[in-house]
């Protein structure tokens, strides 16, 4: 296989204040091919962002990895030392963050945010003298500025020559996100992880940002993991989707198949919950995500599922092949006729 990234059975949890064990990811497996775009979809709290953070190696300190592996460039990232991880970040994989306005350091100009990345990205030990060398070298500074301007131009920012000297406070949300995309692509990464990059923006800007991401990613044959709760966007961007629920992948498959013929009641519910601009009566999924402590064995969706049976609480459900490359974790996936 030409998978650039494969996550196997990733399990992540933490110990809460009372000492009880809380499991956030229950054996998540993903695979990403070269040039492929996959989308992780699901409600807030289903584990999409935790998965992304685990891949990037920036899990909050209180979370620990309980099992599984993340294979990338022939290495298991979970075994990697911090220095080795550092060298991969920005080059092997990178992040387009969720909150563009707060993801740029407010005290530096746009140009300054690019400076160190262009000068030092991929190097682990930069001494104080090395740190100042490009700063004191006028020719190098001009060269870095030119590269910054070129990078800004690549993400279709107007008048990049003026923009390099602006502070993040002076940028709009859409402009900030474009700057962040340029920053993320600077190291020519193999995998771009976009964590709801448009959520903080309004719809028209969000669409522009997604178009830009798609265009940049395809132009470089970069793979992308696009995390979103918006099924509409996932269906437009992704080659394959992973539907996550309560720390588990409940359905995965080619985007068109999953959305036209969902095999898990949760996926079907999500599709129905998308508001439409017609008069169709709104129908969502009742209830909220279960307390991760209460799930135990069995299907985590059983409390909210309209098709629930007694068997649903019995055992862990593996992802079951329901079509070509299409798998779902529902014991009734073969018998149910789910309308999308």
């Amino acid at each position: 296989m030409s998978a650039v990234l494969s996550v196997e059975n990733l399990e992540i949890g933490y110990r809460d204040a009372d000492g009880a064990d809380v499991t956030l990811l229950r054996g998540v497996s993903l695979s990403l091919d070269r040039g492929e775009i996959i989308s992780l979809v699901g409600e807030s709290g289903c584990g999409k962002s935790v998965t992304a953070k685990a891949i990037l190696g920036v899990l909050p300190e209180n979370l620990d990895v309980r099992g599984g592996s993340i294979q990338c460039e022939d290495k298991n990232l979970l075994d990697l030392e911090e220095a080795g991880y550092q060298a991969m970040r920005g080059r092997a994989f990178t992040l387009v963050p969720q909150h563009p306005l707060s993801s740029l350091n407010p005290v530096f100009t746009v140009g300054a945010q690019f400076f160190d990345l262009i000068a030092f990205q991929g190097r682990t030990r930069v001494g104080v003298i090395d740190y100042w060398r490009p700063r004191l070298n006028l020719a190098r500074r001009r060269e870095i500025r030119e590269r910054t301007i070129a990078a800004l131009r690549e993400v279709s920012l107007p008048s990049p020559e003026e923009l390099v000297d602006r502070y993040p406070l002076q940028l709009s949300g859409g402009q900030s996100q474009r700057v962040l995309i340029a920053l993320a692509l600077l190291g020519d990464p193999k995998i771009v992880i976009a964590d709801e990059p448009g959520t903080a923006l309004d719809v028209t800007i969000e669409a522009q940002i997604n178009d830009l991401l798609l265009e940049r990613v395809q132009a470089r044959h970069t793979s992308m993991i696009y995390i979103t709760h918006d099924l509409g966007i996932a269906s437009q961007l992704a080659d394959r989707v992973y539907v996550m629920y309560a720390g588990r992948v409940v359905e995965e498959g080619p985007t068109a198949r999953v959305f036209s013929a969902p095999k898990h009641p949760y996926t079907a519910g999500l599709i129905k919950a998308v508001p439409k601009v017609t008069n169709e009566p709104f129908s969502g999924i009742r209830g909220t995500l279960p307390d991760p402590k209460a799930i135990g064995e069995g299907c985590a969706f059983r409390w909210r599922c309209p098709y629930v049976t007694d068997a649903c609480a019995a055992a862990v459900l593996p992802l079951d092949e329901v079509g070509a490359g299409h798998r779902a974790a529902c014991i009734r996936s073969r018998e149910l006729e789910l309308a999308s």
Partner: protein
């Protein structure tokens, strides 16, 4: 109020086509705040005056020779007059000249103490906050040990141990002062390290030191500026207290604390010997405090 105008401007700045310089709007906000709070303007004026006295003192005083160990018994203990505005001391030296030049020693002490305290305290605070864990615990417990000792007692002990002189005073106060900067930097850095731009730097491959000193430290500048300004006043006060107790700079150097101590014997008759250096301390400390408060408003409004 000013906060809101600032934000509106920034949003407009992002949408306009032309370049909008951030300096212009900050200066405008600063000018606006200074206009609304004349007290910080008074503080600024006092601080500038003290700095001018400290730098140019020996060249602007009416009796430059009186600054040192000269003696002029013919004019001893004269009350304030047109010739000697602040009167003369027990050996006939002009008090005004000595008060003006005295600003220099106070400012030297304040400057080096603050430099020392910032250089020790800020890195320790940031490292403790960013790395946390046992390292952070050890650093902050050491910090608390220093905090637990009253600074005057600590400084007195060090000065008594090493003998009173200017470098000793600076080192002693500096060693007592870094704890405050460490605490401030620790608290601020704890907050800033949770910001999204820190994670963004991390995922683009930045190392720990780069994040601590390249991303977090620059965000501390405004609180540090305010803290430094306010602290200069207190350091001057502590330096004067040491001089007063005979454990700081030694006579005949013109230092406000020593002058107050020397004039104490002549109270209440020769009141000008203690009053004017005392007023100098008082006004200088007030000046730095007013300026610090004003800066707090100005820099606070930027965020």
């Amino acid at each position: 109020m000013s906060d809101k105008t600032q934000n509106d401007k920034s949003v407009a700045g992002g949408l306009e086509d032309g370049p909008v310089s951030v300096e212009v709007s900050s200066w405008r906000v600063a000018a606006e705040i200074l206009r609304k709070s004349p007290l910080s303007l008074v503080g600024l004026f006092i601080v500038v005056a003290v700095l001018v006295m400290a730098i140019f003192g020996p060249w602007i005083v009416p009796f430059p020779d009186d600054v040192g160990a000269t003696v002029n018994f013919a004019e001893r203990l004269q009350p304030p007059s047109a010739k000697h505005w602040f009167g003369t001391d027990i050996v006939g030296r002009d008090v005004l000249s000595r008060v003006i030049v005295g600003a220099r020693i106070s400012m030297i002490i304040a400057f080096f103490v603050i430099v020392l305290a910032v250089l020790i305290g800020v890195p320790i605070g940031i490292i403790a906050a960013y790395w946390g864990g046992w390292l952070g615990n050890v650093l902050m417990r050491i910090n608390e040990v220093f905090l637990a000792i009253p600074s005057l007692v600590f400084v007195l002990a060090v000065a008594a141990l090493l003998g009173p002189s200017l470098p000793v005073v600076i080192a002693a106060i500096g060693l007592a002062w870094w704890t405050w900067f460490a605490r401030l930097a620790y608290g601020e850095a704890l907050h800033i390290k949770e910001e999204q731009f820190v994670e963004a730097a991390q995922v683009s491959g930045a190392g720990g030191l780069r994040i601590a000193f390249g991303e977090i430290l620059p965000n501390l500048t405004s609180v540090l500026i305010v803290k430094i300004t306010l602290d200069i006043g207190y350091v001057i006060l502590l330096g004067a207290a040491l001089g007063f107790l005979g454990l700081g700079v030694q006579a005949p150097d013109p230092e406000w604390g020593i002058m107050v101590a020397e004039g104490r014997d002549q109270l209440p008759d020769a009141w000008w010997l203690t009053t004017f250096p005392g007023l100098a301390i008082f006004i200088t400390v007030i000046g730095f405090n007013l300026l610090g408060d004003g800066l707090n408003d100005i820099l606070g409004a930027r965020q």
